[in-house]
Symmetry: none
Subunit: 222 residues, 4 copies
């Protein structure tokens, strides 16, 4: 292969990095993380495998960066949607807002589900620190926004709520993506109990959680 034009300026380099991430995201749509090879990503991106390692130090770092990026977009959407609101929100309103933020982001939800078992291994300290630092600041910022719209949410509990939502995403994502034989088993009529539909399950539980928080607040006051 003829070497691709060189990315010299920082801007060009950022663009190339971005290309790699976009390629990985696209490939991830139809291939599980474990089945997705660096070879495939390089080929899809029209780059040599070695080039990937100029921009990322490991496969995990690629997907961690991808996760970071997609999380960033998710927070952007969420923050924008929240800031559009004028006054206090109802629980239902918030749930709908979350519903909208999840829609069209199946790959983000899948990335979160493997984040702790797959992506946070084999990355340098700096990368992990960067990721967590960013995640923290955005979680806190959005958490604070939530607090301002939900009266029952005491100061500092917005971020904690988001952590709970992470857990729910991971959990329901696992439950909703059975693989191989299990899919077959679950297709039996009497296995309806285990047929989990990600979005409804997630949103239903989120709503209950919010109601619980509201109740708790009221209860505490009394």
């Amino acid at each position: 292969m003829r070497p691709r034009s060189r990315a010299v300026s920082d801007e060009q380099k950022a663009e190339r990095r971005s290309t790699i991430l976009q390629t990985a995201l696209t490939a991830f749509a139809d291939t599980a993380y474990d089945e997705l090879t660096m070879d495939r990503i390089a080929a899809d991106a029209g780059l040599a495998k070695g080039t990937l390692y100029l921009y990322f130090r490991s496969k995990e770092e690629v997907f961690l960066a991808l996760c970071e990026h997609e999380l960033g977009r998710w927070f952007d959407d969420l923050d924008t949607a929240l800031q559009t609101r004028r006054a206090e929100m109802s629980i239902n309103g918030l749930v709908e807002l979350f519903a909208a933020s999840f829609a069209g982001r199946p790959r983000l939800l899948r990335l979160l589900a493997i984040l702790h078992t797959g992506l946070e291994h084999n990355v340098p300290y700096a990368a992990a620190l960067g990721f967590k630092t960013l995640l923290k600041s955005r979680t806190e910022a959005t958490g604070a926004l939530l607090e301002s719209y939900l009266r029952f949410l005491e100061p500092g509990r917005g971020a904690a709520l988001l952590i709970k939502i992470y857990a729910l995403i991971i959990g329901f994502e696992h439950l909703s993506e059975p693989s191989g034989v299990v899919r077959e088993v679950l297709s039996q009529p009497d296995m309806e109990l285990f047929r989990v539909n990600l979005q409804p399950a997630l949103l239903d539980t989120l709503k209950i959680l919010l109601m619980g928080l509201a109740y708790e607040a009221k209860y505490r006051q009394a």
Copy 2:
């Protein structure tokens, strides 16, 4: 290696199977699933590798059986504890009851966290069906028990509650077990937000969930 005494009777065979599971469980305590080899389990159990395959058809089947077994014991405890109660339970009472049931079962929680990504692959249909069938019947039975102690839980919602709890277990298990560098990162003072302690996090969220359900029931009546 000198052949171990033969398991001839059904009882002896059940015992040997049990030995293998116990060995796997013990080894799993200090080694991640991926790092745990069939070689290791065989050696620990004082058996030849081939013998393992006489009792289980694959590594996954070993751990699926283990999961099944541990889940069974968990349900046993839970059912016993519930049946001991006379009358209606408070939310706090139930949370404590769950707390007691989780205590001393860190490996079950870890097994559940990898159940869907690791264990349900490479297993024959029959094994998967058996597992799910058992899990279903116990989930429904314990779900029904829950319904009888929690006034706000409508008929049929007990099992659904347990599904939510599975999701919470999986999610918080992932959040609470950072690995390698991430552990280091999270040990920084300002990373407190992400330092998740499994039991408290799980129980706290469970309590909120239960309150939400209670609130929802009251709300619906009104």
Copy 3:
């Protein structure tokens, strides 16, 4: 499994041995030698695996005995057919006679094709000696018969002719049983050259061989 009735008398033992061979032969009809396990044979025969080893010392010995048996029946047929003839035979007559002897014996031909690579390994000296001794006496006897019907076959050349026929069987058997992808490749229209039909190919070549021998004899006389 309840132990099968014991074979005590020599006759009973011979019968059991025969059962095993018949079972192996039947199983061999639809399964390649390598894919055929001792487990399968034992199960099909309604015996325990260990019992097989009371009658044969190895898998190879089972199939060597099977080959011996089937060869015996083939020689029986051949000899009978030859002895029925009164006078000298034509080449075509002999070819037809061979054709009849091969018909209904696809498994014998397949056994011969793996005899040297598979069956003659891992057998005790005595078994190999017995097999070869029997094969020799029958080859020589039938060879002699052939000599008496084919004028052009000089004394001692009948057995040599049979050896050539063994070689042809092995060779064409290999050519006629492509496996997997190759079968696909050969199904292409332009690959007709390699589509070998065992019986016709074998008999055609045999006829030419006999003509060559006849020609050689005539030529030598002149």
Copy 4:
């Protein structure tokens, strides 16, 4: 292991591929196909095992390529020898020509003997197709050459003759390479019948075959 110098140009890569094949051929001289491991070939070639898989997709593909290569050289020799001739050839002349072509190629003959049972498995369709296509074109070309030198060979029968020769090679190769105990058995004085010497047996039968074809042609004319 220190990485071997890199094969960058196509020429260098072809050379490395060639090195691997040569190494395999050399190792094959003293080790049976089944006993020959990829580990051994890699070590002998001074390469990492993974490197082998850069050039061939499986062990079978290595040996199929080897077979293709050796067959190519054999056809080259045969064609050259044939084209050197001016006029019609005698049967004896042709047999000698074949004798010369086989001499020094014991490994090709052994490869042919395992081609159908061993090498044509586990190979991608394209590889099998390529092999068969090449073999077909060379078989037809050399077949046509044979037709031009052997008056009695009707058009189109040259390739068919070569197919018969393949069968003979496979068959006699098997007969001539007894293994283990059988070799011992055959070393007994009275087992002379089964002591097959590859070259003489092959050439003798080939000669008879050619005479048969000649006879058949003459017979048909009359």
